[in-house]
């Protein structure tokens, strides 16, 4: 059950703040179903909350409330545009779902016929529903074409210059995202607090970041570690990423920062995906003969396993006696973990002192239609959130939407979901970790306070913070966007 601790300060009682309840957790979800007015029955079933696509022209119910409060609701013109916008929003929603249903049953021709109309009605420079529809239409188009071609793997750039250019684009977009949404800071602050707490009494630490990118998270941790009375004797980070050049650049930056704080720091770059490193190391071939031989020779197999584990630890830079913290943040920009099973196996072997993960509240697998509808809800809320209070022509928001959200949506809608493979994926890492011998570490103390301080800033009104079973959930008006959780081995 949701325990919503009203961690945000209550809104000011003078109603100059037009959004009435920022603490919306008490608001019933049923409120929003009225907007769907029987349009698509299955949609309301899957729906979660306020991220409805078919809201008013600005894409959020609170905006239309805002309008009516300010302009005293007798403005006919305004109501007319709101009604028009609502009906065009509804139409867009209906068309998108129709198209998705066609794709789900492989009726690609009909799906293709629906797309021109959806595109015509949508625009990345319009209202929230129009922008969401634009990117979903683009994703559906890409999916239809890829289905015809029959190739589903994502394009990975082998050439250095291109890989770097692409990474640079993403990093720039993430920085913009950081300034128009608290999501990244939320992830960093809560995880860093949890890590800091877990390191009480420790003098050394080894952090393995499964998707380090530019390592923007770690300077914050360096700071709080450096201000500890009991000094850190060794701080090491293993950064996993797709390009060694980028990793080295990140390492250099972190090095410089650590030096400026007087922290003894070492960086271990690891190119590749964590779940694939095991198989890379062991050179597993899918040759059936090899398998047979191995099966016949159990002894060899167990030695092999030991050797492999040792190799793995070496590659990761793990030293005995050092507490290990594993961290990563979920997204759909590209596949981070590679083989999910291998990743779990690795975590089991590694038994790190703490695992911190930030997960998107979005399914990455399952039926296409289910994934599609859930993503539509999710990104409607997200688009509402980043568009709140910003003019439609804002270039920064457009960059974030086009580079990040658009890319994620394309991956979610693609065959295979964001992992872009047919592999079985872990849906909820928290649950999965629970199954393989880890137990939750509650974030209810300092991490929660940090998060609530962050969200208490005026800039982030509309965002909600909820604590559930020791996890912290960041949401936009009750639709949960991110869940931060921490885990430790149960032995």
């Amino acid at each position: 059950m949701l325990q919503s601790l009203h961690l945000q300060p209550p809104p000011p009682t003078n109603s100059s703040s037009p959004i009435m309840n920022t603490n919306t957790s008490k608001r019933t979800i049923n409120n929003n179903n009225n907007n769907f007015a029987g349009e698509n029955v299955e949609f309301t079933g899957a729906g979660v909350g306020s991220g409805d696509v078919a809201g008013d022209g600005d894409g959020s119910p609170s905006r239309s409330c805002k309008r009516r409060n300010i302009e005293e609701s007798n403005d006919d013109d305004d109501q007319l545009t709101t009604v028009e916008a609502e009906s065009s929003g509804l139409r867009l929603l209906g068309l998108l779902l129709q198209c998705a249903e066609c794709v789900a049953v492989d009726n690609l021709d009909h799906a293709n016929n629906l797309l021109p109309e959806i595109s015509e009605l949508s625009s990345p420079f319009g209202s929230s529903p129009e922008r969401v529809a634009a990117y979903f239409a683009e994703a559906l188009q890409a999916r239809i074409i890829s289905s015809y071609i029959g190739t589903y793997t994502p394009l990975t750039f082998k050439t250095k210059t291109l890989a770097l250019a692409q990474n640079q684009k993403i990093c720039n977009a993430l920085q913009s995202y950081n300034s128009i949404s608290p999501s990244i800071k939320f992830s960093h602050f809560t995880a860093n607090q949890a890590i800091f707490q877990a390191l009480e009494g420790e003098e050394t630490v080894h952090i393995i970041d499964l998707d380090i990118m530019q390592g923007l998270q770690w300077p914050g941790l360096f700071h709080i570690l450096a201000s500890r009375p009991r000094k850190i004797k060794s701080l090491r980070i293993t950064g996993v990423g797709s390009s060694i050049e980028l990793l080295n650049a990140t390492g250099r930056r972190l090095h410089d920062f650590a030096n400026s704080l007087g922290l003894p720091f070492e960086f271990v770059p690891l190119e590749g995906k964590i779940g694939n490193i095991c198989s890379d190391l062991n050179n597993i071939s899918s040759d059936l003969n090899n398998l047979h031989n191995n099966m016949n020779n159990l002894n060899n197999m167990s030695t092999d396993l030991n050797n492999m584990n040792n190799n793995l630890m070496n590659k990761l830079g793990v030293r005995s006696g050092e507490p290990v913290v594993v961290h990563w943040m979920h997204h759909c920009l590209y596949d981070v973990t590679g083989s999910d099973y291998e990743t779990l196996r690795l975590l089991n072997v590694l038994k790190p002192k703490l695992i911190t993960i930030i997960e998107q509240d979005l399914s990455h697998g399952g039926s296409f239609l289910g994934r599609f509808v859930e993503a539509l809800h999710y990104y409607s809320a997200l688009f509402d959130a980043v568009g709140d209070g910003i003019e439609p022509e804002n270039v920064e928001r457009y960059t974030v939407e086009q580079q990040l959200f658009g890319c994620e949506i394309k991956n979610i809608v693609a065959v295979g979901g964001p992992k872009r493979t047919g592999e079985v994926k872990v849906e909820k890492w928290g649950e999965e970790l629970g199954r393989v011998g880890f137990g939750p570490v509650s974030l209810a103390g300092n991490p929660a306070s940090q998060a609530s301080l962050l969200l208490g800033m005026f800039l982030w009104r509309g965002y909600t913070l909820v604590e559930e079973n020791g996890c912290l959930k960041l949401g936009w008006k009750d639709l949960s966007l991110l869940t931060a959780s921490a885990w430790r081995p149960l032995d």
């Binding site: 690609l108 109309e117 190739t151 396993l305 083989s339 022509e393 086009q402 493979t421």
Partner: protein
């Protein structure tokens, strides 16, 4: 254990990709090709297709990939077509940078070509655009475009200048306007007529609307034009004629309301290219039969006609022209402009039509869109007309116009006909883009 896991995962993936391709066997012959159904789960990393740097490594990666794909389609190299379509599909986006946009719109055309669904796709695009077009949005679009770029105003200023000079001393003026610019050309002309030193002449404006898009919104124009003329104090008569492209050359003097004693000007902006190639000669003959004082012709500088039976050549020219156009749009508008988006979407219709629609299949809807270059139009027009050079005054007016816009615009020297003047050429970054000319019988 681990080898079983990865074997399991690999098997899943093979099963996964094969299953979907089996379900697709009812599609076009292209996708039934045996090579496409046995996909190995190799990770499709970008590899140099051989012969140079073609690929996302460089600037202009889109052109290289697109051209290669077009070539592969003409050679029917299915494996390569597949590979390139996949790359383009991964990299393209209608909302990204110029390369990504070009990749997106041309990918659409290549895909239609490969699946032989061009006609259907075009019809669908046209019908959707038809439904959503309204006067307000069309007007807003044209005005915004004119504000940020001289692409259309260039032709207006040149033509108006030539028409006014040809009409000097006349009292009963009749302009037959065959264009789709929503009459944005005429207010300046009306003003010029009103401020002429001698008696204000009367103006009859007969607008022949050919584009399917424009027809539905022209009714609003009538009232506005009449009101404006009243304001200017110019005796004015306005007629609107629906000239579907098939019928254009069949219009008669009566239908066009041509009367004795009128000084006639035929103004043809971006309209000739919308006429089917075989009918263009007849249309020009029609102009001649009206015995006009002057004919002004403005067209975009590209040749999609002489190569219309050669897919790759036509593709190259299309790509060249639309790359210029998209780059011009990107530099002229703000990054988050809805107007620019609408113009880009308009292009997609043209691209699909020119590259994937079978001309012989008699498409009833939409416009032909097969542009010809200035020197090609000259060849056609010379049969009935002779070129009139633009006077220095008009050239000065055009130059003054260009100064009002961002840098990059200039008047190009027409290199084709060395000795004679063959009209005026607007250039963007030294590339000729719009051609304007004036003719007399």
């Amino acid at each position: 254990m681990t080898s079983v896991d990865s074997l399991y995962n690999n098997t899943l993936f093979i099963f996964f990709t094969q299953k979907s391709s089996m379900e697709r066997t009812h599609l076009s012959p292209y996708t039934n090709h045996p090579q496409t159904t046995t996909k190995q789960p190799i990770s499709h990393t970008y590899s140099d297709p051989g012969g140079g740097e073609a690929g996302p490594d460089n600037d202009k990666w889109a052109s290289k990939l697109l051209l290669e794909c077009a070539q592969s389609i003409s050679y029917k190299d299915y494996g390569k077509i597949n590979h390139l379509l996949w790359m383009l599909n991964e990299l393209s986006s209608p909302y990204g940078d110029c390369d990504q946009k070009l990749a997106y719109y041309f990918l659409q055309a290549l895909f239609c070509k490969a699946t032989e669904s061009g006609n259907r796709c075009y019809k669908s695009l046209i019908s959707v655009a038809d439904k959503s077009h309204c006067f307000d949005s069309a007007r807003k679009l044209i005005l915004k475009f004119q504000e940020v770029s001289p692409w259309t105003t260039f032709g207006h200023v040149a033509s108006n200048g030539a028409i006014l000079e040809a009409f000097d001393g006349e009292n009963k003026l009749h302009i037959i306007d065959i264009s789709n610019t929503l009459c944005t050309q005429w207010p300046t002309l009306l003003e010029a007529l009103a401020t002429r030193s001698d008696d204000t002449p009367s103006l009859k404006l007969t607008v022949v609307v050919t584009s399917t898009m424009a027809r539905s919104i022209m009714k609003e124009i009538t009232q506005r034009m009449e009101k404006f003329a009243r304001l200017m104090g110019v005796p004015f008569e306005f007629n609107l004629i629906n000239g579907s492209n098939k019928r254009l050359w069949q219009l008669t003097k009566e239908e066009l309301n041509v009367q004795e004693g009128e000084a006639i000007a035929v103004n043809c902006i971006g309209a000739l290219r919308r006429v089917e190639v075989e009918d263009r000669g007849d249309v020009i003959r029609l102009f001649s039969s009206l015995n006009p004082r002057i004919v002004t012709v403005v067209e975009e500088e590209a040749d999609f006609t002489s190569s219309r039976f050669d897919f790759v050549k036509c593709f190259e020219e299309c790509l060249r022209y639309y790359t210029l156009y998209f780059e011009m749009l990107e530099e002229s508008f703000t990054p988050t402009s809805n107007e620019r988006l609408m113009l880009e979407r308009e292009c997609s219709r043209g691209i699909v039509r020119v590259l994937t629609c079978d001309d012989e299949q008699n498409i009833d809807s939409g416009d032909c869109e097969r542009r010809e270059k200035g020197n090609q139009w000259c060849e056609r027009l010379k049969e009935h007309f002779s070129l009139v050079g633009f006077s220095d005054d008009v050239v000065d007016d055009v130059k003054a116009l260009l100064k009002r816009y961002r840098t990059g615009w200039s008047l190009a020297h027409d290199r084709t006909n060395s000795n004679e003047d063959s009209g005026m050429m607007l250039a963007w970054k030294d590339e000729p883009v719009v051609w304007a000319s004036a003719w007399k019988p």
